[in-house]
Symmetry: C2
Subunit: 370 residues, 2 copies
């Protein structure tokens, strides 16, 4: 019986996530497992909640990491906030908007969607028009569309949603820790993220936060949350208060990883980390230009941490990505859905957002593309 | 800002889980993160599926670890197999049976339950009688009731369920890797487990397996699975086949831990591991006897890995457990629900099931209880 773990060769993760992980986070993952009710562990939980609040700039009491990946965070927000026949509007300009629509539909909501061209941001006038026509219970949008590299105007949409009276739900999986996320300022009511993007922790947890209005909706539900595992009315009894009522056994060691990942960002300074993402994005764009490679998204809507590159005509997508991972141990992402074969997705997330990563990728590109 | 990870002192985990973790599993958790579509990682996934099959003695194709803790595995089985108005029977003799009832009810099923005294096993005659009266779509039971230390007669119940025609769902969270689990032989249709019990991996994943009959039910559903994150019809497209369709980013490093945990058990030999659990249970019972401590469950129904001990009258539950964790760094569990203050739960799971653990606990008990 061969142990395949022994032959893992560390890759340079420059795809849409997971991103590179620092040694300090790896070391955190391997710390001794504590019991999920151990007072030492409870203290760590409290710190984790406060670290998450800082990274998304909120005072929300209900701020917890969900015991699943980013998609579990998405499911958590919808299943706690949406009841059958609720009116939901989803703004869609990529894969992760489509998912939200699917999730809301499965919950029996009356779901409308506004669709925008993939690779372009949500258009505010269309949203304003739709919201003027109909009152919604919830409006959902993706902040950083990982499938296209587009940054949506989340702050501006927030103002429109506020006027409509709906709850405002935002997917911050790829944005948290890489660009500004001002949950309270932007009037976001529910938000979910993931650990494997700009937090640079391995995948497995999903920070989630609810405003008081969102908590109000949860508290006043007519029906039980139809999902036991993700029922926040029970999860919060474990994550706060004095009783710490057991719900499910928390993923202890993954939470160590998240603790360290947040700690490292706060130590470097959130503003500095955000600036680093911006700087590295600009460096990458200028380097790509020297190779004649162009970005898929217009400059004003580009994400720094997810760079969608047009695959030049005549270049074989799979061949280039295969060479990158096999010959250079560099992973980049391909396009999803209608963008398959048309774009590469180069991630500059968290630990990956460093000069050395860009240099290595450019060296490899120069050899492969020439 | 103080980094609390630096002050973690390794405890001896002798509660109901998490259990002690071996150095090889800690090292596995800290291996370099691979991309979730990296061929090296796909090879690991294939091994993990085959290891799980060996530990639960099944040939089931649909055998995957769910990206959440044991409770997520429970939710997965119910949400994929139960449709609104399905007739479900839950056999309840502890906390984890009660949970199953709650989950099935939230899914809109018509749920009956047979309740047995906590601390005693499910009575076959009652089950036979109930199944003779009504046809069910699904019958669910917990194999190893972690809240009481009782082993239910899962093989015998399987025969009765088969005659009824219902699907047979079994919670093997605490039994897998500690006592025999013969999924195919016992005619179990769906099973879930957890990593933090006898597998001795930190919490965070839930092995799940479906028989062909269960897969048939999933395939022929009238409605979409009302849970996107746990929809096995999508998850299996990532975990098998050639396309490896992205669903959610797998919890890579946790899966390394599960890989190593299963590998270690198979290396020691499943039979040897099961015998070790039995031997250590007997040693513990005889040692407890010297202190006048008695077991809560009658001998024929006792689990080796979860030993429920009657708290002697006049002894302060919280005080003893507090001293154990604070003065000796030993964690044991208290009773849940009606058993709070009445029993201690001493786990001998996986890495914890060793002579040294028992010796340390007995030394501490001798000092505290005298």
């Amino acid at each position: 019986m061969q142990n395949k773990l022994n032959s893992i060769v560390k890759p340079l993760l420059m795809g849409p996530g997971p991103s590179c992980v620092s040694d300090s986070v790896y070391q955190a993952l391997a710390k001794p497992t504590l019991g999920h009710l151990d007072p030492e562990f409870i203290a760590l939980m409290d710190d984790i909640k406060s670290y998450i609040r800082k990274l998304i700039q909120t005072e929300n009491q209900l701020t917890v990491p969900i015991s699943g990946t980013g998609s579990a965070g998405m499911e958590t927000c919808f299943v706690n906030l949406v009841e059958p026949e609720d009116r939901v509007l989803v703004l869609i300009n990529g894969v992760f908007g489509v998912r939200m629509e699917d999730v809301a539909t499965r919950l029996g909501a009356e779901v409308d969607s506004l669709k925008f061209e993939w690779g372009t941001p949500v258009i505010l006038d269309s949203v304003r028009e739709q919201l003027a026509q109909k009152k919604y219970d919830l409006v959902a949008v993706v902040h950083a569309e990982t499938s296209t590299g587009v940054c949506n105007p989340v702050a501006e949409i927030g103002k429109l949603v506020k006027n409509n009276g709906a709850l405002y739900l935002v997917d911050c999986v790829t944005s948290m820790g890489g660009i500004e996320v001002e949950m309270d300022e932007w009037q976001i009511d529910a938000l979910y993220s993931g650990t494997q993007k700009c937090l640079s922790c391995p995948p497995g947890l999903s920070p989630v936060s609810f405003s008081d209005r969102a908590v109000g909706k949860l508290t006043n539900r007519k029906t039980k949350v139809p999902n036991w595992y993700l029922d926040l009315s029970m999860i919060t009894q474990y994550w706060s208060g004095n009783a710490r009522v057991y719900h499910h056994t928390a993923p202890i060691n993954m939470l160590y990883g998240l603790y360290q990942a947040c700690y490292s960002i706060l130590e470097e300074g959130l503003e500095n980390v955000i600036q680093r993402h911006k700087d590295m994005h600009e460096l990458l764009v200028s380097e790509l230009k020297t190779l004649g490679l162009e970005l898929f998204v217009e400059e004003s809507a580009r994400l720094p941490m997810l760079n969608a590159i047009k695959i030049p005509s005549g270049v074989d997508d799979a061949n280039v990505r295969g060479k990158l991972i096999n010959d250079y141990r560099i992973e980049i992402g391909g396009g999803l859905g209608p963008l398959a074969g048309k774009i590469w997705r180069i991630g500059l997330m968290g630990e990956t957002a460093k000069k050395e990563s860009i240099q290595k990728l450019m060296d490899a590109f120069r050899k492969i593309l020439n």
